[in-house]
Subunit: 356 residues, 2 copies
């Protein structure tokens, strides 16, 4: 294993799209969403087990989740868990981790990955990530893993690449979530992939590109070099986060840089951003149900039922529903109406903080 | 209030028709089924508050439920809670209580009532019970309150009476649950009422009639007179229950006696034997839903949703369902398929005793 390979896992999100499972004090990445015995965070780390030594994994998360991270990844030392004092989107998160890694290894190859996505074809994923690392190590390119689209999804951002026979293709531009017509044209052209938020670069390339496009933020985290891995780190970060801009790495760096390349992967990726995507990604019974819990069903199909293991659930006569029982919330709703979950969360907020 | 009036509440049932609410260790009579702040047992006692002094209430229950009874009726003394060592149907239960009451009041007027029914029109109920008591006190009749039927229910037993202008009518016979055609003919004739299992008699009349029709059992409980209200009572009852027949009071006494009379009542009675009957008896929202819990509904109608107060429930898109969340069981099923609940309970038995 290349001892220069480092992994940054971004685990600070607090989304509520999987409410009532994802909660303010226990968001999605810390859940075993697929019911397979490992949380999404643990699965994310596992995905890189042949690529990156355990001591080279850095998890950036919110201060309130550091204990959860340590619980789920007990092999991490304190210095491998980077606690953000506030949410400032992905650019500060990634800059903080990259500059910190730079303190101990100036030759680092850095992979950045969200903590709450899934990848079904792990071997293919590993192969493609290794191609990305090779490219990053041997060029001054910022590399991203683009997901070969399987449908005209309007919930993902897209990346347009320059068609060529090369495995590593030059990126033409990044595109926001399209409408359905646009998404269909993207798929038809064959020159677009989904943006999975997975980035690979050498430390040197990152620093150079970031300094050029984000000079203020680059300096803010560069100046931390005297503090990282010392007792003053958290104090320095608290001050820096108060001052730094809130901006995504896509907008700050990837969309503006001209040295961005993409490796295409058909890796069974999903951001699990919706219950529907969970349904698609999960194992189903003969009636197209996704069942996770101590559940007995009668005359039920096309449904997702996720409930606590120690509770007996009897469901009769549902077609196309989500039944989600977690902690102090039970949600039952039509799968096709899951866009309402946002409204449910707003409603729940008014009922009390303990429900969100 | 007539100090001779006594009430026997039969609270030993362990039915599972309201599973997952009614459970072996906490059956229906101990639940606030209607969600109005009082359990069915408490409501039953309340129903007689102007009829019978508190110290004249006797509750017969299973040994395992005596603590529950005391918890819900803390004003009872230990001697007012009669613990049955085994289930022997209603005749031994009633005989035990009647002969025990006979020890302290030979002039007693005794009302027998199930613990798990509801009565919506309490004033009318009180009026009719008072008529029953007058009749019982001033005659040698066994009196029952018959419920004027509001539909051809096939789930209830019926009583045929001799038509007359008298308020208290002679009973011709008791009839088991009929099929729909028969039930329709009963309703049409106007000479049938529902058997609610509510009986009123003087102690003297009961003893005389019971001795005549059930001589063995009458002697078994008559011989207990030296033990009732003493330390040897429970020992005597344990032995007697092992020996005595298991038989209902209907079959042992009411159907065979020739001195049975009925008072007709339109009192909003239901035995709450089905979820459907609960739906009928409960207050409904504008969409015909019965809602009991911390529940927010969207696009939902004709449903019953009963869940714990401390849990937030969000339901979207259900029509005609039962959602019952209690303790370690969640049941979701179509209201019209509630006959399946029996099968659910059988299934749950196999999953573990903790679920039934």
């Amino acid at each position: 294993m290349n001892q220069n390979n480092f992994l940054i896992i971004m685990a600070g999100g607090a989304g509520t799209r999987f409410w009532p499972f994802s909660r303010n004090n226990n968001p999605k990445q810390f859940h075993d969403v697929l019911g397979i015995g490992k949380t999404l965070l643990q699965q994310t780390a596992d995905r890189f087990k042949n690529i990156c030594p355990l001591e080279n994994i850095y998890v950036v998360t919110s201060q309130q989740y550091t204990d959860l991270v340590l619980e789920q990844m007990p092999y991490l030392s304190d210095s491998q868990i980077l606690a953000e004092p506030s949410r400032k989107n992905t650019a500060p998160c990634i800059a903080y981790a990259c500059y910190k890694i730079g303190v101990i290894n100036s030759e680092a190859n850095i992979i950045v990955s969200p903590a709450d996505h899934i990848v079904l074809y792990e071997q293919e994923f590993e192969n493609k990530i290794n191609i990305c690392i090779d490219e990053a190590e041997n060029s001054d390119h910022l590399v991203t893993l683009g997901i070969s689209p399987t449908r005209p999804d309007t919930g993902y951002g897209y990346i347009k690449f320059e068609n060529s026979d090369n495995v590593v293709k030059k990126v033409e531009r990044f595109l926001e979530k399209p409408d359905l017509e646009t998404a269909l044209s993207f798929i038809k052209s064959g020159e677009f992939v989904w943006n999975a938020g997975i980035f690979v670069w050498s430390l040197a390339t990152f620093k150079k590109s970031f300094k050029k496009l984000m000079p203020v933020m680059a300096q803010q985290f560069e100046l931390g070099i005297d503090h990282y891995f010392t007792e003053t780190e958290s104090n320095y970060i608290n001050i820096t986060y108060k001052q730094c801009e809130s901006i995504s790495i896509d907008y700050a760096l990837m969309e503006k840089a001209t040295n961005v390349y993409v490796v295409l992967g058909n890796v069974g990726w999903s951001d699990l951003g919706t219950w529907k995507s969970l349904h698609e990604a999960s194992e189903k019974d003969n009636y197209n149900n996704v069942i996770d819990g101590n559940i007995v069903i009668y005359d039920t199909k096309n449904s997702i039922i996720k409930t606590p293991k120690n509770k007996l659930i009897v469901v009769q006569g549902l077609d196309g529903y989500i039944v989600a029982d977690h902690d102090n919330v039970l949600m039952i709703c039509k799968k096709e109406e899951e866009q309402n979950v946002k409204a449910f969360v707003e409603m729940a907020k008014n009922k009390g903080d303990e429900f969100i």
